[in-house]
Symmetry: C2
Subunit: 338 residues, 2 copies
C-alpha cells in the first residue's frame, strides 16, 4: 500500500456530506456553513523536522512564519481571509528555549501580518523531532468560494509569481552550496532562498480575483505544477496543455541552475512549495486578471489551456514544431495501478 492508497482509504472513511458541511476532504480546505451568507474554511498542515524543514539552515523565526504561510495559502486558494489559528507544537526534551521563543515570535508575527488571531492549541513533548501543526480557520462569502473542481474546457490556465524558486532554494541548502544565516547568502540566490525559507501566501491577490467572479477553479501550488494541476484537472474532469516557454521564473532560476548544474524546468514543473496560485478563467477575462495583479505589483502568467480529456501535457517548441510530454503527477500515471 502506498501513502496515496492509504490517504484515499482514509478519505473514503471521511465525510463528504452532512449538516452544515459544504465541502469535505478533497480541496485546499473544508468548507462549512457559518451563517446564511458566510462560510468558514478549515485547513490543517503538519511540518516535521527533517521531513519538512531542516533546523540547520532554517532560522526559527522564519520557520514560524512559514508554518503560518503554508496554512494561510490554503485559505487564500479558496478565496478566503484567515481569521483564527490554532497551534500544536511538539518539542524534544533538549529544545533550546531561545529557539522555541523565536519560532513562537515568527508564528505570532505572521498571524498578525495575515490578520488572523492565534487562539489556542497545545505544547507537547516530542521524542526526537520538532513537530508543528497548525489549523487555520478562514472566512468568506458562500457564493465567493473558489474550488478545484470548476475548471471549464477552453479556460486559460494561470499561475501567480514565479515557479520553482522554493525548490531551487531548498536544493541550494541541500547541496551544501549555501550555508549560514541571512544576510550571508549570495545575492543572486536570494529570491530562491527567500521562497524556500519564507514564502508568502497570496491572500490579497486571491481575494481580489475571487471578487471578480471570473475565476472558475483555483488552488495553491504546494506539490509542484505537474502534480497540482493534475489534481485540478482530475477534480474538474478535464485535461490541460501547458506551454513550456510560458512558465514564469526561468531568469530568476538561472544562478541556482548553473551553480548546481540542474535543469530549470524540473524545478518549475516538479518543485514543491511554490505557494503561488494556480487558477483558470475564460480567455475573455485575461485583461481583467492582469489588471488586478498589476495593481498589487504581482505577476500572473497564462501558462496553458484546459482541454477535453484527462491528464496534463507539456508542449515544448522545437525546430520542427512542438514536442509533447505527459507530465500528470510528475510523470506517474495516477490512473493506472499495479
Amino acid at each position: 500500500m502506498t501513502e496515496r492508497d492509504l490517504i484515499e482509504q482514509i478519505q473514503d472513511l471521511a465525510c463528504y456530506e452532512g449538516e452544515g458541511l459544504v465541502q469535505g476532504i478533497g480541496d485546499d480546505c473544508a468548507v462549512v456553513e457559518k451563517d446564511q451568507r458566510n462560510v468558514w474554511l478549515l485547513t490543517m498542515d503538519t511540518l516535521i523536522e527533517s521531513v519538512h524543514f531542516d533546523c540547520s539552515w532554517h532560522p526559527p523565526y522564519l520557520l514560524g512564519c512559514k508554518a503560518v504561510s503554508v496554512n494561510v495559502s490554503d485559505i487564500a486558494a479558496m478565496g478566503g481571509r484567515p481569521v483564527f489559528a490554532l497551534l500544536s507544537l511538539g518539542l524534544p526534551a533538549d529544545f533550546t528555549p531561545e529557539w522555541a521563543v523565536e519560532l513562537s515570535r515568527g508564528i505570532n508575527d505572521a498571524c498578525r501580518q495575515y490578520g488572523c488571531l492565534l487562539i489556542g492549541g497545545d505544547t507537547v513533548c516530542s521524542p526526537e523531532k520538532v513537530t508543528l501543526t497548525l489549523t487555520l480557520i478562514g472566512e468568506t462569502k458562500k457564493d465567493r468560494v473558489l474550488y478545484r473542481h470548476a475548471a471549464c474546457i477552453g479556460d486559460t490556465i494561470w499561475v501567480s509569481g514565479s515557479l520553482g524558486y522554493a525548490a531551487a532554494g531548498l536544493d541550494c541548502f541541500r547541496s551544501g552550496n549555501v550555508v549560514g544565516m541571512p544576510p550571508e547568502y549570495p545575492s543572486e540566490l536570494a529570491p530562491c532562498i527567500k521562497a524556500h525559507l519564507d514564502p508568502e501566501a497570496r491572500v490579497d491577490l486571491a481575494r481580489s480575483l475571487a471578487q471578480t467572479s471570473c475565476i472558475h477553479a483555483m488552488m495553491d501550488l504546494s506539490d509542484g505544477l505537474a502534480t497540482d494541476l493534475s489534481h485540478l484537472c482530475q477534480q474538474s474532469r478535464v485535461g490541460a496543455i501547458i506551454k513550456a516557454e510560458k512558465l514564469p521564473g526561468r531568469r530568476g532560476l538561472a544562478p541556482a541552475a548553473s551553480l548546481l548544474n540542474k535543469k530549470r524546468s524540473d524545478w518549475m514543473l516538479a518543485g514543491g512549495e511554490d505557494y503561488e496560485l494556480l487558477f483558470t478563467a475564460d480567455p475573455k477575462d485575461s485583461q481583467t486578471i492582469m489588471d488586478i495583479a498589476a495593481r498589487q505589483g504581482l505577476r500572473v502568467s497564462p501558462v496553458g489551456t484546459v482541454i477535453a480529456g484527462q491528464g496534463v501535457t507539456l508542449q515544448r517548441k522545437t525546430t520542427e514544431g512542438y514536442e509533447e510530454q505527459h507530465i500528470s503527477f510528475q510523470g506517474f500515471d495516477h490512473f493506472a495501478r499495479n
Copy 2:
C-alpha cells in the same frame, strides 16, 4: 526554562481579544462567535507515539477512538456538542497498512459515535514515530458555555465517574503485568484497562448539566485532579479543599493497587487521562445534579468545597480529626519560581 515557562511565553504572544473571539488560550477550548446566538468551540490535541501512547499494547482501532475522545472531552468540558473534526496523521515510512487502516476506522467510528464529521486534514511522513493531531470544532449557545474561571466561594466541587482508573490501567501495562490484546486481560483489571485504552468523553452529561444553568465552572480531567483543580482555582481566583474519603473509585482500583503494590490515592489525585468532568455548583443544586447523572446511569461525586484563598488542600480523616496536605499542581507550588 521549563516546558511550563515556554507554554506561558507562547501564551503571552497569543491573542486574548479580537474580532469574534470570546475566549482565547487558557480554557479547554477557544470560543469564537458563530452567529448572534451561537458560538464555536475549537480545540486541538496531539498524541505522539512513545510519549502519549505505546503501540505495543494499544490496539490501533482503540487508539483512533481515544484520539477522538480526548479532543471531544475538551468540547464537552465547555458544554458543547462536537460537530467537525480535522485529522493530521504522521506515519513513519515503515508503517503497516493494516495498522493505519484500523486506526482510521477507530477515528471514523468514534467521530460517528459522537455525532461529528471528519471533514479534512492531511497525512504526512514522520521520521520515526506515529503522530496524531486532531482539531475538534464544537458548537453551543453563547449563554450556555461553561468556563474554568467561574467557580464561586462556597461551591461544591464535583467529579463524574471514577478517578485514577486510566493511570492504573497504564501502570498495569507499563509494569509488564498485563500483556496481550483484549479480551485476554484479567477481568478484575478490565475497568482500569478500558479507561486507559478507550476513554469516553462525557458529552451528554456535560450538555445536560450546561442546560440547567446551575453549574458555575467546568473543565475536564486530563492531568489529574490535583493539577486540573489547581488550574480551575487559579483561573477562578479561589482555593479548594478536597476530602480524601470522598474521592470516587477506591474499590475499582483495589485489584490494580494490590497487583502493583501502589497507593490508590496517588492514582486518584495525580493520575492523568481520566477525561471525567470536574465542575462546581451551589450546594443547593446538589439534588438536581445527582438526578441528571442518575438519569444517564452515571455517577457524580461531591469531593470538596471552593474556599477563599488559593491552592488545593487535601483533608484526610485521622483518629485525631483531620490531616491537611497542599496538593496544588501535584505538590509543586506553581506560584513560587526559582
